[in-house]
């Protein structure tokens, strides 16, 4: 079932075109990986989906992006960002306590009741496999956590607003292998309830967790297929070159 339908999407920042004529679909409950060298447009693609590109003054676009058949530029911007959550490249806790970090989005959507907030925080932390480590540290500053814990906290924070789609922007770029494994494990378990799009610089990570993989190069979508096919028998030679580390 198609969750996100992208038709002839072009994106510009000033005169520079970041994405060229992208048409693709994201299926419900899959992990779709986007790989490609830097400046390939994969991050602009991700930030398009929850409309963070709108923050850049020189941003322009054409084409359409539909979430469950509805144009995302015509839905209320705060609602779209609740439905499509985002986990950033570097662990980026807000300068608040662990509890307040997770409760932030829920509070902003108008929930004031202490009990509901506590419940939401506990559920989200459990989903991110962080509850055991955090249940006695809820009121410490989030900056005191380790990098891996911080990143899982950011995942929990995103889950707490009950999104339908989660965007991961190179979520493991600052993490050690053990923390990376924990984040990947969380992603694999999350996909039964969520649709996940993962932008990564680490090709092996795409091979480990991706159901399908998209290869971007200089703003174009070169190839999108089952991960296994991309990694064993890609139809475009440039995909093969990139995966084998010949450039980028």
């Amino acid at each position: 079932m198609v969750k996100i339908d992208i038709q002839r999407l072009n994106i510009w920042f000033g005169a520079a075109q970041a994405l060229k004529n992208i048409t693709m679909q994201v299926k419900k409950n899959e992990i779709l990986c986007a790989i490609g060298p830097s400046n390939s447009g994969k991050t602009s693609f991700l930030r398009m989906l929850n409309r963070l590109n709108d923050l850049t003054l020189s941003f322009r676009m054409s084409g359409s992006v539909l979430l469950d058949g509805r144009d995302i530029t015509k839905i209320d911007i705060e609602l779209i960002r609740k439905k499509i959550g985002m986990v950033f490249a570097m662990p980026s806790p807000l300068p608040l306590s662990v509890f307040d970090n997770v409760a932030y989005g829920v509070r902003m959507s108008g929930v004031r009741n202490k009990h509901s907030l506590e419940e939401a925080v506990e559920t989200a932390l459990k989903q991110a496999y962080l509850w055991q480590e955090m249940k006695d540290r809820l009121h410490e500053s989030a900056f005191k956590l380790s990098g891996g814990q911080q990143q899982r906290l950011c995942i929990a924070r995103t889950l707490a607003v009950q999104p339908e789609v989660i965007l991961f922007d190179e979520p493991c770029s600052g993490l050690d292998p053990i923390s990376t494994a924990k984040v990947e494990e969380a992603m694999l378990k999350l996909k039964k309830d969520y649709t996940i799009i993962l932008v990564t610089n680490n090709v092996k990570q795409a091979a480990r967790v991706g159901d399908r993989t998209a290869f971007f190069l200089t703003g174009e979508l070169i190839e999108l297929d089952q991960t296994e096919k991309i990694f064993t028998a890609p139809s475009d030679r440039r995909t093969d070159d990139y995966i084998r580390g010949r450039f980028g």
Partner: protein, 281 residues
């Protein structure tokens, strides 16, 4: 002469230039403290001026200055803070923004006596507030507006951009993001700017000359439409307009004003230093 010898001479001259500035500053502070200290009694601070300001204390002037400064802040802080929020969070890179920035620079450069003229026509005459605390406070408030805007804007802009993106990505609106994430993290800088504005407002004389300051008024004001004495104007009056004032009293008044202004600045410096240590990101 070798180039190294030349360097030595040049550096010595540059150091000397600094002494030419720093030594007089030290001397000024020293002289005021030395000559003003004997006047510093409890009575001097809490009594009204007596015998045509040649004896007694300066209490009404201290109170007047505190009223004027408070009034100025009540006006300038909200307007200045919101203006800073506009510039840091909403303004696009366009002509309007450039004009606003230029206007702020100009507002900061308008001579203080011109503020006095402006306050006189707008508040005293046109708005019919008369020479009053209200007129004087508003005039001082507009004068310190650029200080508050500039400091608050710097504080707001120093909050990392990623915090805003995170907050927005969790479905918060722009205003919620400003209110719950940007403002709380900019507060120390905003307070510092406000305090510097207080220091400036407390020491200025020219803007209050025609808008509020009373030559001699040995009682406390009862409403915002009353005139008041103010410390800087009082110092001007007793050092130039009243003959035969005991230098102890003029130096004492100068010392009180200096302590007030420096104390306010010291608080700003302490807040700034503490915050730098505690900074979380």
């Amino acid at each position: 002469m070798t180039s190294l010898q030349r360097q030595k001479i040049a550096f010595a001259l540059l150091f000397l230039a600094n002494l030419l500035v720093i030594v007089p500053v030290g001397l000024i502070v020293f002289i005021i403290i030395q000559k003003g200290w004997p006047a510093m009694t409890w009575q001097f601070i809490t009594d009204i001026p007596r015998q045509g300001m040649r004896a007694g204390g300066i209490f009404p002037a201290i109170v007047g200055t505190i009223y004027l400064v408070s009034g100025a802040i009540v006006f300038a802080l909200p307007v200045g803070l919101l203006a800073a929020i506009y510039l840091s969070e909403y303004a696009k890179d366009n002509l309007l923004t450039r004009i606003i920035k230029l206007a702020i620079v100009n507002l900061a450069g308008v001579p203080s006596v011109v503020y006095g003229l402006f306050g006189l026509v707008l508040f005293v005459s046109f708005c019919k507030f008369g020479a009053s605390i209200l007129s004087g406070s508003l005039t001082l408030g507009i004068m310190i507006l650029p200080i508050i805007i500039t400091a608050s804007r710097e504080a707001l802009e120093s909050v990392p951009h990623v915090f805003r993106e995170v907050s927005l990505s969790l479905g918060a609106s722009k205003w919620q993001t400003i209110r719950h994430i940007v403002l709380p993290n900019a507060i120390p800088g905003i307070i510092t700017g406000t305090i510097l504005g207080i220091g400036r407002a407390a020491g200025e004389t020219a803007p209050i000359l025609f808008t509020v300051a009373a030559f001699y008024l040995p009682r406390l004001p009862s409403s915002v439409f009353d005139q008041v004495m103010a410390l800087p104007y009082h110092l001007y009056v007793i050092s130039t307009q009243v003959p035969n004032v005991d230098p102890k009293i003029t130096y004492g008044t100068a010392l009180v004003l200096l302590i007030l202004v420096l104390f306010v600045n010291l608080i700003a410096i302490i807040i700034r230093a503490r915050f730098r240590k505690k900074k979380k990101w």
